[in-house]
């Protein structure tokens, strides 16, 4: 379930490499508008990029690409992030263009991380939080 309450931003798009950067840019702009500092913006860009890349690379193995979604909620000095897809779950692939360290990187940067079954029992949801004490939200 996506985070609720606070000030919310969300975007859903086809699980395609072209949308990773667009969604990353969108959520960072949202965080900046809430007063998140440069360090938080940088960690947000990286965690979101890794999460969305996981959707593109691992969620639709041997099936047509589906949808990925990104929800950000600014609440009480914390950015709550949810990255969802409607794929088959994150499956390993031998031709992965990454290092296999995406989730490890997210775990290092986030103050919390959960990996869950996606909404309606389909796909995967990555839920993470980033501390952003400088944000204006109550």
């Amino acid at each position: 379930m996506a985070p609720s309450g606070g000030i919310r931003w969300e975007h859903h798009a086809a699980a395609d490499p072209a949308n990773v950067g667009l969604m990353r840019t969108g959520v960072v702009q949202f965080a900046a508008a809430q007063g998140a500092g440069a360090g938080v913006q940088s960690d947000l860009a990286l965690t979101v990029s890794e999460g969305l890349t996981n959707c593109v690379v691992h969620a639709f193995v041997a099936q047509p690409p589906g949808t990925m979604g990104l929800v950000a909620v600014a609440l009480g000095g914390v950015l709550q992030i949810s990255i969802v897809d409607d794929g088959c779950g994150m499956k390993p692939r031998a031709d992965s263009p990454g290092l296999g360290i995406g989730l490890g990187l997210i775990a290092q940067l986030a103050s919390s991380l959960e990996i869950l079954q996606g909404p309606g029992g389909r796909g995967t949801e990555i839920r993470l939080a980033l501390a952003a004490p400088e944000m204006r939200t109550a």
Binding site: A14, A18, G21, L46, T53, V57, P64, T67, P97, L99
Partner: protein, 136 residues
């Protein structure tokens, strides 16, 4: 209903806007400078240019990859750095990486990739300077 996939031309256009790759060669040194965002969409542009240089014993021997113009890099970029570093080792040419922003430096640090690369602050830090031959 299946989501609408971005058209290939649009994807290529986005990749062009997101990352510029500038390569120049002088004598036995190739300098490749990146400007913009290096991720899953754009990493193939970098790979294509770097692979196209084809360092060899009687040609380019030194490859300098300049990250100073990057505003973002994720593990897709790291993967390419490691791939190029491994190729340099097996192909016996030199690869140096010019440090990028603090965020990119931190990424190299936390992943341990920094320990495997020859990192410099400026291409001019290389001895001999870029654009000149290195003995041997």
């Amino acid at each position: 209903m299946a989501p609408v996939q971005p058209d290939r031309k649009l994807s290529e256009q986005l990749a062009e806007e997101q990352l510029a790759v500038e390569a120049s060669t002088r004598r036995r040194t190739a300098l490749v400078a990146l400007r913009g965002e290096l991720d899953l969409l754009t990493v193939s542009k970098v790979a294509e240019v770097l692979d196209g240089i084809e360092p060899q014993a009687d040609g380019v021997r030194h490859l300098v990859l300049d990250l100073r113009g990057l505003t973002f890099m994720d593990s897709a970029g790291l993967h390419e750095l490691i791939r190029q570093n491994e190729f340099a080792r097996t192909n016996r040419h030199n690869l140096a990486v010019v440090r990028g922003t603090d965020a990119i430096d931190r990424l190299l640090e936390v992943t341990g990739v920094k320990d495997h690369l020859v990192l410099v602050d400026d291409p001019d830090d290389l001895a001999p300077p870029v654009g000149t031959d290195r003995p041997g």
